[in-house]
């Protein structure tokens, strides 16, 4: 399985990522999921979230999650980008693409990866209320 992992302070360039899609002839499903910073957290409006990571461990844990996904579904590739630093409400904090032969495994693997990320990958966020 091809895998690309980016953990970065830079904005997520969705257009460039979509332009970089690569699928072989046997693949028929590309599932995308975007995590967007909500404009409200715990009942109050917010301006942004600040993401912090234990970067080396985050990379290690993401790859362990990808390893598990690879054993469960016949995936051709996973590309995942997670923002760090301050991300304004309405901006994308997470971008993931899963490519598989059929939609069932692509959807299931995408859901699995995001759920596992929220369980084991050491990334935290802090809300900044609207001034």
């Amino acid at each position: 399985m091809r895998r690309e992992l980016t953990i970065s302070e830079k904005n997520i360039d969705e257009r460039a990522l979509l332009g970089g899609r690569a699928m072989s002839a046997g693949m028929g499903a590309a599932v995308y999921f975007l995590g967007i910073v909500r404009g409200a957290e715990e009942g109050g409006p917010i301006a942004a979230l600040e993401y912090e990571a234990f970067r080396q461990m985050a990379e290690r844990q993401f790859h362990l999650v990808f390893d598990q996904a690879e054993t469960r579904w016949p995936l051709e590739s996973v590309r995942l980008v997670h923002r760090l630093g301050r991300v304004a409400a309405g901006e994308t904090s997470l971008w993931i693409e899963v490519i598989a032969p059929h939609r069932e495994e692509a959807f299931a693997a995408c859901q699995f990866i995001v759920s596992e990320m929220k369980r084991v990958v050491p990334i935290w966020k802090k809300a900044f209320p609207l001034a």
């Binding site: 080396q56 461990m57 929220k118 369980r119 050491p122 935290w124 966020k125 802090k126």
Partner: protein, 81 residues
């Protein structure tokens, strides 16, 4: 034996530091180190049931036997995405 401990997220505030060192006996288990830390940093003690613990870049359970040079990280539940 000296062990370095790193704190992440709001655990840095609870400990008042990003990293500290602690002395443990050779062959000490991770849970023994944690008990020392919760006594040393009482504000962290209230989080001990939800705290996540890693050695290096892997999660470890309390029975992990610490070795010279291990770097321990202590942090709250993760919140990526």
């Amino acid at each position: 034996m000296q062990v370095r401990i790193h704190f992440y997220s709001y655990f840095k505030d609870l400990a008042g530091s990003t990293e500290v060192t602690e002395t443990v006996a050779p062959g000490a288990r991770l849970e023994e180190l944690l008990q020392k830390l919760f006594i040393r940093f009482p504000k962290l003690a209230s989080m001990q049931r939800s705290a996540l613990v890693a050695v290096g870049v892997d999660y470890q359970a309390g029975d992990y036997v610490l070795a010279e040079g291990d770097e321990v990280s202590l942090f709250p539940p993760v919140q990526g995405g």
